[in-house]
Amino acid sequence: MKQKNNNPGMTLIVKTVTRLTVGLIMLYGLYITFHGHLTPGGGFAGGVILALSFIHLILAFGRDFVIKKFSEKVAGIFESIGAFLFLTIAVSGFLAGYFFMNIYGKGTPFKLFSAGIILPCNLSIMLKVGFGLFSAFLVLILFTSTNSKE
């Protein structure tokens, strides 16, 4: 099955529904990450859901449309920011003791801004996992669509 070159992606119904719901999927991924220390979830689950929202865009609108907004370089930069932030938080524990020491304030339990080091760590892991999986999928799709046109 070859795609027509002047209308990539899927049908009009799929495109309209995608426009309405892709923001909600990204918001759900952010919610699961931010409340990772109160409810089940955490950085890994939120990162994979974030990657799934971008992949939803690619599948519905075609690869060329998404490349103009999120090239591979931008995804790589975000992934490196996530990994670097994780290491910075770890090294900052040296100020008061050992590697990865929990030095931020503990706060009262069951509130959103409690539990010291866990919330920034969850955020950096979400950036890293989400954009890493998205850039790997982008490269796999490049190969598939180029060679199915032959």
């Binding site: 409810t39 089940p40 955490g42 890994f44 994979v48 069951f110 996992v129 999986l133 790997a136 999928f137 490269v139 796999l140 190969f143 598939t144 060679n147």
Partner: protein
């Protein structure tokens, strides 16, 4: 025997995956066997840490003390699942490159190394 039944069934699932890796000739079937082995090992780790009549290890606001299952295997398996996904992506990327070069997924053809 009845008290070890879930462990034995988990082991049978592992052996189905192992059979697929050894016998099959299609490269995608070998990747599917790798995925099945992945699932069976994660399941085995979580089965070891289960305790009867206990609840999930998340505290809630009403100060009620309840017995909990073991949280340590769950922490190990959480990262193992995402690592399994990353390894599957890498193996599929290699399989796609092999198809572009040799035009088939059959490993007996690829082994002849036509170049």
């Amino acid at each position: 025997m009845m008290q070890h039944l879930p462990y034995v069934l988990c082991l049978i699932l592992f052996l189905v995956g192992l059979y697929a890796i050894i016998v099959k000739k299609n490269l995608i079937k070998i990747i599917i066997g790798l995925g099945i082995i992945d699932y069976s090992l994660n399941l085995f780790l979580v089965l070891v840490g289960y305790r009867k009549y206990s609840f999930f290890p998340i505290l809630s606001k009403n100060e009620q003390v309840q017995p909990m299952v073991d949280p340590l295997p769950q922490a190990l398996v959480l990262t193992a699942i995402v690592i399994g996904l990353a390894v599957t992506m890498l193996v599929i990327a290699i399989a796609i490159r092999l198809y572009e070069k040799y035009r088939t997924f059959d490993i007996t053809e690829i082994r002849k190394l036509k170049g």
